[in-house]
Symmetry: C2
Subunit: 176 residues, 2 copies
Protein backbone atom coordinates (compact mmCIF):
# COMPACT_ATOMS: atom_id res chain seq x y z
CA UNK A 1 0.00 0.00 0.00
CA UNK A 2 2.90 2.38 0.77
CA UNK A 3 4.54 4.36 -1.99
CA UNK A 4 8.20 3.52 -2.55
CA UNK A 5 10.76 6.28 -2.85
CA UNK A 6 13.08 5.66 -5.82
CA UNK A 7 15.01 8.92 -5.74
CA UNK A 8 15.06 12.27 -3.95
CA UNK A 9 16.22 15.74 -5.00
CA UNK A 10 16.65 18.43 -2.35
CA UNK A 11 15.22 21.74 -3.59
CA UNK A 12 15.47 23.76 -0.35
CA UNK A 13 17.60 22.96 2.68
CA UNK A 14 17.48 25.60 5.42
CA UNK A 15 17.12 25.32 9.21
CA UNK A 16 13.34 25.87 9.24
CA UNK A 17 12.36 24.52 5.83
CA UNK A 18 13.40 21.66 3.61
CA UNK A 19 11.66 20.81 0.36
CA UNK A 20 12.24 17.59 -1.53
CA UNK A 21 11.16 16.37 -4.94
CA UNK A 22 10.77 12.61 -4.74
CA UNK A 23 10.55 10.05 -7.51
CA UNK A 24 8.05 7.51 -6.17
CA UNK A 25 6.58 4.20 -7.29
CA UNK A 26 2.91 3.63 -6.45
CA UNK A 27 1.23 0.30 -5.65
CA UNK A 28 -0.53 0.48 -9.04
CA UNK A 29 2.87 0.52 -10.76
CA UNK A 30 2.73 4.18 -11.76
CA UNK A 31 5.83 6.28 -11.20
CA UNK A 32 5.60 9.97 -10.25
CA UNK A 33 8.83 11.85 -10.99
CA UNK A 34 8.31 15.01 -8.99
CA UNK A 35 6.23 14.52 -5.84
CA UNK A 36 6.90 17.40 -3.42
CA UNK A 37 7.50 16.77 0.27
CA UNK A 38 7.85 19.72 2.64
CA UNK A 39 9.70 19.27 5.93
CA UNK A 40 9.04 21.93 8.54
CA UNK A 41 10.17 21.60 12.15
CA UNK A 42 7.88 19.60 14.43
CA UNK A 43 6.13 21.81 16.95
CA UNK A 44 4.28 21.68 20.26
CA UNK A 45 0.97 23.46 20.78
CA UNK A 46 -0.34 23.88 24.29
CA UNK A 47 -3.92 23.83 25.57
CA UNK A 48 -3.27 25.48 28.95
CA UNK A 49 -5.93 25.95 31.62
CA UNK A 50 -5.16 28.05 34.69
CA UNK A 51 -6.21 27.33 38.28
CA UNK A 52 -9.61 28.99 37.59
CA UNK A 53 -10.09 26.80 34.48
CA UNK A 54 -9.57 29.73 32.10
CA UNK A 55 -7.68 29.03 28.88
CA UNK A 56 -4.47 30.86 27.98
CA UNK A 57 -4.78 32.02 24.36
CA UNK A 58 -2.67 34.15 22.03
CA UNK A 59 -3.52 36.67 19.33
CA UNK A 60 -0.70 36.69 16.82
CA UNK A 61 0.08 38.49 13.58
CA UNK A 62 1.00 36.06 10.80
CA UNK A 63 2.79 37.46 7.79
CA UNK A 64 1.97 34.60 5.39
CA UNK A 65 -1.75 35.46 5.60
CA UNK A 66 -1.28 39.10 6.68
CA UNK A 67 -3.78 38.74 9.53
CA UNK A 68 -3.96 38.56 13.29
CA UNK A 69 -5.36 35.18 14.32
CA UNK A 70 -6.64 33.65 17.52
CA UNK A 71 -4.34 30.77 18.38
CA UNK A 72 -2.70 28.90 21.26
CA UNK A 73 0.86 29.04 22.57
CA UNK A 74 3.15 26.98 20.32
CA UNK A 75 6.70 26.65 19.17
CA UNK A 76 9.25 24.57 17.35
CA UNK A 77 10.65 21.51 19.05
CA UNK A 78 14.44 21.69 19.15
CA UNK A 79 16.42 18.73 17.84
CA UNK A 80 16.39 15.95 20.46
CA UNK A 81 13.98 17.85 22.71
CA UNK A 82 11.00 16.07 24.27
CA UNK A 83 7.70 17.57 23.00
CA UNK A 84 6.42 18.02 26.54
CA UNK A 85 9.58 19.83 27.70
CA UNK A 86 9.36 22.01 24.60
CA UNK A 87 5.76 22.82 25.47
CA UNK A 88 6.68 23.88 29.03
CA UNK A 89 9.44 26.14 27.71
CA UNK A 90 7.18 27.71 25.06
CA UNK A 91 4.29 28.34 27.44
CA UNK A 92 6.63 30.04 29.92
CA UNK A 93 8.32 32.17 27.21
CA UNK A 94 5.17 33.18 25.37
CA UNK A 95 2.80 33.67 28.32
CA UNK A 96 4.71 33.52 31.64
CA UNK A 97 2.57 30.59 32.85
CA UNK A 98 4.23 27.58 34.50
CA UNK A 99 3.47 24.70 36.87
CA UNK A 100 0.37 22.51 36.86
CA UNK A 101 -0.22 19.03 35.46
CA UNK A 102 0.90 18.18 31.93
CA UNK A 103 -0.28 15.57 29.44
CA UNK A 104 0.99 14.75 25.94
CA UNK A 105 -2.06 14.24 23.66
CA UNK A 106 -0.01 12.84 20.79
CA UNK A 107 0.95 13.62 17.20
CA UNK A 108 -1.31 15.37 14.71
CA UNK A 109 -0.85 16.45 11.07
CA UNK A 110 -1.31 19.79 9.33
CA UNK A 111 -1.38 19.16 5.60
CA UNK A 112 -0.78 15.54 4.83
CA UNK A 113 -0.69 15.90 1.05
CA UNK A 114 2.74 17.52 1.27
CA UNK A 115 3.86 18.22 4.85
CA UNK A 116 5.76 15.59 6.83
CA UNK A 117 6.10 17.42 10.16
CA UNK A 118 4.16 16.57 13.33
CA UNK A 119 2.12 18.85 15.58
CA UNK A 120 2.38 17.60 19.18
CA UNK A 121 -0.63 18.69 21.20
CA UNK A 122 -0.02 19.08 24.92
CA UNK A 123 -2.58 19.78 27.66
CA UNK A 124 -1.69 21.62 30.86
CA UNK A 125 -4.08 22.17 33.74
CA UNK A 126 -3.66 24.34 36.84
CA UNK A 127 -0.94 26.59 35.42
CA UNK A 128 -0.25 29.95 37.08
CA UNK A 129 1.44 33.15 35.92
CA UNK A 130 4.81 33.16 37.66
CA UNK A 131 7.10 35.13 35.35
CA UNK A 132 7.36 37.77 32.67
CA UNK A 133 7.05 36.74 29.04
CA UNK A 134 10.28 36.38 27.10
CA UNK A 135 9.62 35.78 23.43
CA UNK A 136 11.40 36.70 20.22
CA UNK A 137 11.02 40.49 19.67
CA UNK A 138 10.09 39.71 16.05
CA UNK A 139 6.98 37.85 17.23
CA UNK A 140 3.85 39.94 17.65
CA UNK A 141 1.83 38.28 20.42
CA UNK A 142 -0.95 39.44 22.69
CA UNK A 143 -2.12 37.22 25.52
CA UNK A 144 -5.82 36.65 26.26
CA UNK A 145 -6.92 34.53 29.19
CA UNK A 146 -10.60 33.73 28.73
CA UNK A 147 -13.21 31.36 30.10
CA UNK A 148 -13.82 28.12 28.20
CA UNK A 149 -17.42 29.24 27.80
CA UNK A 150 -16.30 32.49 26.08
CA UNK A 151 -13.86 30.49 23.90
CA UNK A 152 -16.70 28.26 22.74
CA UNK A 153 -18.85 31.28 21.92
CA UNK A 154 -16.06 32.81 19.84
CA UNK A 155 -15.59 29.52 17.98
CA UNK A 156 -19.34 29.18 17.36
CA UNK A 157 -19.26 32.70 15.85
CA UNK A 158 -16.52 31.53 13.47
CA UNK A 159 -13.83 33.76 14.97
CA UNK A 160 -11.21 30.99 15.31
CA UNK A 161 -9.85 30.05 11.89
CA UNK A 162 -6.51 28.27 12.47
CA UNK A 163 -6.99 24.55 11.90
CA UNK A 164 -4.27 23.25 14.24
CA UNK A 165 -5.65 25.39 17.06
CA UNK A 166 -9.17 24.00 16.61
CA UNK A 167 -7.79 20.45 16.36
CA UNK A 168 -5.80 20.92 19.59
CA UNK A 169 -9.00 21.95 21.38
CA UNK A 170 -10.67 18.78 20.08
CA UNK A 171 -7.69 16.66 21.17
CA UNK A 172 -7.91 18.22 24.65
CA UNK A 173 -11.66 17.39 24.67
CA UNK A 174 -12.71 21.03 25.13
CA UNK A 175 -14.69 20.51 21.91
CA UNK A 176 -16.45 17.18 21.38
Amino acid sequence: MSWKRLDRKTLIDTKFLKVYEDKVKLPNGNVIDDYSVIEKPNYSMIVALDTDNNIVTIDEYKYAINKIIHTLPAGHIEKGEDPLESAKRELAEETGYTGGEWENLGEYYDYTTKDSHRAHFIKATGVTKTQETNFDPNESLTQRVITVSELKKEIARGEWRANATLAALVAAKLLS
Copy 2:
Protein backbone atom coordinates in the same frame (compact mmCIF):
# COMPACT_ATOMS: atom_id res chain seq x y z
CA MET B 1 1.17 46.21 12.56
CA SER B 2 1.59 44.44 9.19
CA TRP B 3 5.01 43.43 8.00
CA LYS B 4 6.13 45.19 4.83
CA ARG B 5 7.60 43.18 1.98
CA LEU B 6 10.75 44.85 0.64
CA ASP B 7 11.81 42.15 -1.79
CA ARG B 8 10.90 38.62 -2.89
CA LYS B 9 12.95 35.78 -4.34
CA THR B 10 11.13 32.82 -5.92
CA LEU B 11 12.75 29.56 -4.84
CA ILE B 12 10.20 27.10 -6.26
CA ASP B 13 7.59 27.81 -8.92
CA THR B 14 5.56 24.76 -9.98
CA LYS B 15 1.83 24.26 -10.55
CA PHE B 16 1.12 22.87 -7.08
CA LEU B 17 3.85 24.55 -5.03
CA LYS B 18 5.51 27.93 -4.95
CA VAL B 19 8.05 28.90 -2.30
CA TYR B 20 9.23 32.47 -1.80
CA GLU B 21 11.95 34.01 0.33
CA ASP B 22 10.83 37.48 1.33
CA LYS B 23 12.82 40.37 2.71
CA VAL B 24 10.44 41.99 5.19
CA LYS B 25 10.43 45.02 7.47
CA LEU B 26 8.73 44.57 10.84
CA PRO B 27 6.85 47.25 12.82
CA ASN B 28 9.74 47.24 15.33
CA GLY B 29 12.09 48.31 12.53
CA ASN B 30 13.85 44.94 12.25
CA VAL B 31 14.46 43.56 8.79
CA ILE B 32 14.36 39.80 8.10
CA ASP B 33 16.16 38.89 4.89
CA ASP B 34 14.87 35.39 4.30
CA TYR B 35 11.34 34.80 5.56
CA SER B 36 9.84 31.76 3.78
CA VAL B 37 6.32 31.84 2.40
CA ILE B 38 4.82 28.67 0.92
CA GLU B 39 1.99 28.95 -1.59
CA LYS B 40 -0.03 25.77 -2.10
CA PRO B 41 -3.30 25.70 -4.05
CA ASN B 42 -6.40 26.69 -2.08
CA TYR B 43 -8.67 23.71 -1.46
CA SER B 44 -12.22 22.82 -0.54
CA MET B 45 -13.01 20.26 2.17
CA ILE B 46 -16.54 18.93 2.44
CA VAL B 47 -18.51 17.93 5.53
CA ALA B 48 -21.22 15.91 3.76
CA LEU B 49 -24.21 14.36 5.52
CA ASP B 50 -26.49 11.97 3.64
CA THR B 51 -30.28 11.79 3.86
CA ASP B 52 -29.97 9.55 6.96
CA ASN B 53 -27.62 12.10 8.60
CA ASN B 54 -24.58 9.83 8.19
CA ILE B 55 -21.29 11.49 7.34
CA VAL B 56 -19.32 10.65 4.19
CA THR B 57 -15.68 10.12 5.19
CA ILE B 58 -12.53 8.99 3.40
CA ASP B 59 -9.59 6.86 4.44
CA GLU B 60 -6.58 7.94 2.39
CA TYR B 61 -2.92 6.99 2.17
CA LYS B 62 -0.64 10.01 2.44
CA TYR B 63 2.93 9.62 1.25
CA ALA B 64 4.37 12.61 3.16
CA ILE B 65 3.57 10.90 6.48
CA ASN B 66 3.48 7.33 5.11
CA LYS B 67 0.17 6.58 6.83
CA ILE B 68 -3.49 6.03 6.07
CA ILE B 69 -5.53 8.76 7.74
CA HIS B 70 -9.20 9.36 8.41
CA THR B 71 -10.19 12.47 6.51
CA LEU B 72 -13.00 14.15 4.56
CA PRO B 73 -13.48 14.59 0.80
CA ALA B 74 -11.33 17.48 -0.41
CA GLY B 75 -9.53 18.80 -3.44
CA HIS B 76 -7.75 21.72 -5.01
CA ILE B 77 -9.78 24.66 -6.24
CA GLU B 78 -9.02 25.32 -9.90
CA LYS B 79 -8.03 28.85 -10.93
CA GLY B 80 -11.16 31.02 -11.07
CA GLU B 81 -13.38 28.25 -9.68
CA ASP B 82 -15.90 28.99 -6.95
CA PRO B 83 -15.05 27.04 -3.75
CA LEU B 84 -18.58 25.68 -3.50
CA GLU B 85 -18.61 24.47 -7.12
CA SER B 86 -15.20 22.89 -6.52
CA ALA B 87 -16.61 21.13 -3.47
CA LYS B 88 -19.56 19.69 -5.43
CA ARG B 89 -17.20 18.40 -8.12
CA GLU B 90 -14.80 16.87 -5.59
CA LEU B 91 -17.53 15.17 -3.55
CA ALA B 92 -19.00 13.62 -6.72
CA GLU B 93 -15.59 12.47 -8.01
CA GLU B 94 -14.27 11.11 -4.73
CA THR B 95 -17.46 9.58 -3.33
CA GLY B 96 -20.25 9.54 -5.95
CA TYR B 97 -22.52 11.64 -3.70
CA THR B 98 -24.43 14.60 -5.17
CA GLY B 99 -27.49 16.78 -4.53
CA GLY B 100 -28.64 18.15 -1.18
CA GLU B 101 -28.24 21.59 0.34
CA TRP B 102 -24.84 23.30 0.35
CA GLU B 103 -23.32 25.99 2.55
CA ASN B 104 -19.91 27.69 2.39
CA LEU B 105 -18.51 27.89 5.95
CA GLY B 106 -15.66 30.21 4.99
CA GLU B 107 -11.87 30.32 4.87
CA TYR B 108 -9.59 28.58 7.32
CA TYR B 109 -5.78 28.31 7.64
CA ASP B 110 -3.47 25.32 7.92
CA TYR B 111 -0.07 26.57 9.05
CA THR B 112 -0.05 30.31 9.32
CA THR B 113 3.64 30.66 10.14
CA LYS B 114 4.55 29.86 6.53
CA ASP B 115 1.53 28.80 4.42
CA SER B 116 -0.54 31.41 2.59
CA HIS B 117 -3.22 29.13 1.10
CA ARG B 118 -6.84 28.92 2.26
CA ALA B 119 -8.89 25.88 3.23
CA HIS B 120 -12.53 26.48 2.27
CA PHE B 121 -14.85 24.39 4.45
CA ILE B 122 -18.17 23.49 2.85
CA LYS B 123 -21.13 21.75 4.45
CA ALA B 124 -23.58 19.62 2.46
CA THR B 125 -26.72 18.03 3.90
CA GLY B 126 -29.07 15.50 2.34
CA VAL B 127 -26.62 14.21 -0.28
CA THR B 128 -27.28 10.85 -1.97
CA LYS B 129 -25.08 8.38 -3.85
CA THR B 130 -26.03 8.84 -7.50
CA GLN B 131 -22.91 7.89 -9.46
CA GLU B 132 -19.70 5.90 -9.49
CA THR B 133 -16.56 7.47 -8.09
CA ASN B 134 -14.11 8.89 -10.59
CA PHE B 135 -10.89 9.96 -8.93
CA ASP B 136 -7.25 10.07 -9.98
CA PRO B 137 -5.93 6.45 -10.15
CA ASN B 138 -2.87 7.65 -8.20
CA GLU B 139 -5.08 8.50 -5.22
CA SER B 140 -5.67 5.73 -2.72
CA LEU B 141 -9.10 6.35 -1.20
CA THR B 142 -11.59 4.20 0.66
CA GLN B 143 -15.02 5.56 1.44
CA ARG B 144 -16.64 5.11 4.87
CA VAL B 145 -20.15 6.35 5.55
CA ILE B 146 -20.67 6.37 9.32
CA THR B 147 -23.06 7.80 11.88
CA VAL B 148 -22.12 11.09 13.51
CA SER B 149 -22.25 9.27 16.84
CA GLU B 150 -19.65 6.73 15.63
CA LEU B 151 -17.52 9.58 14.22
CA LYS B 152 -17.51 11.29 17.62
CA LYS B 153 -16.50 8.04 19.34
CA GLU B 154 -13.59 7.61 16.92
CA ILE B 155 -12.49 11.19 17.54
CA ALA B 156 -12.76 10.76 21.33
CA ARG B 157 -10.51 7.68 21.00
CA GLY B 158 -7.92 9.87 19.20
CA GLU B 159 -8.29 8.08 15.87
CA TRP B 160 -8.70 11.26 13.79
CA ARG B 161 -5.37 13.10 13.53
CA ALA B 162 -5.61 15.45 10.54
CA ASN B 163 -6.02 19.01 11.80
CA ALA B 164 -7.95 20.45 8.85
CA THR B 165 -10.43 17.58 9.07
CA LEU B 166 -11.07 18.19 12.78
CA ALA B 167 -11.37 21.93 12.17
CA ALA B 168 -13.89 21.37 9.37
CA LEU B 169 -16.04 19.32 11.76
CA VAL B 170 -15.88 22.20 14.25
CA ALA B 171 -16.77 24.73 11.53
CA ALA B 172 -19.76 22.55 10.57
CA LYS B 173 -20.76 22.49 14.27
CA LEU B 174 -20.60 18.69 14.51
CA LEU B 175 -18.07 19.30 17.30
CA SER B 176 -18.70 22.20 19.71
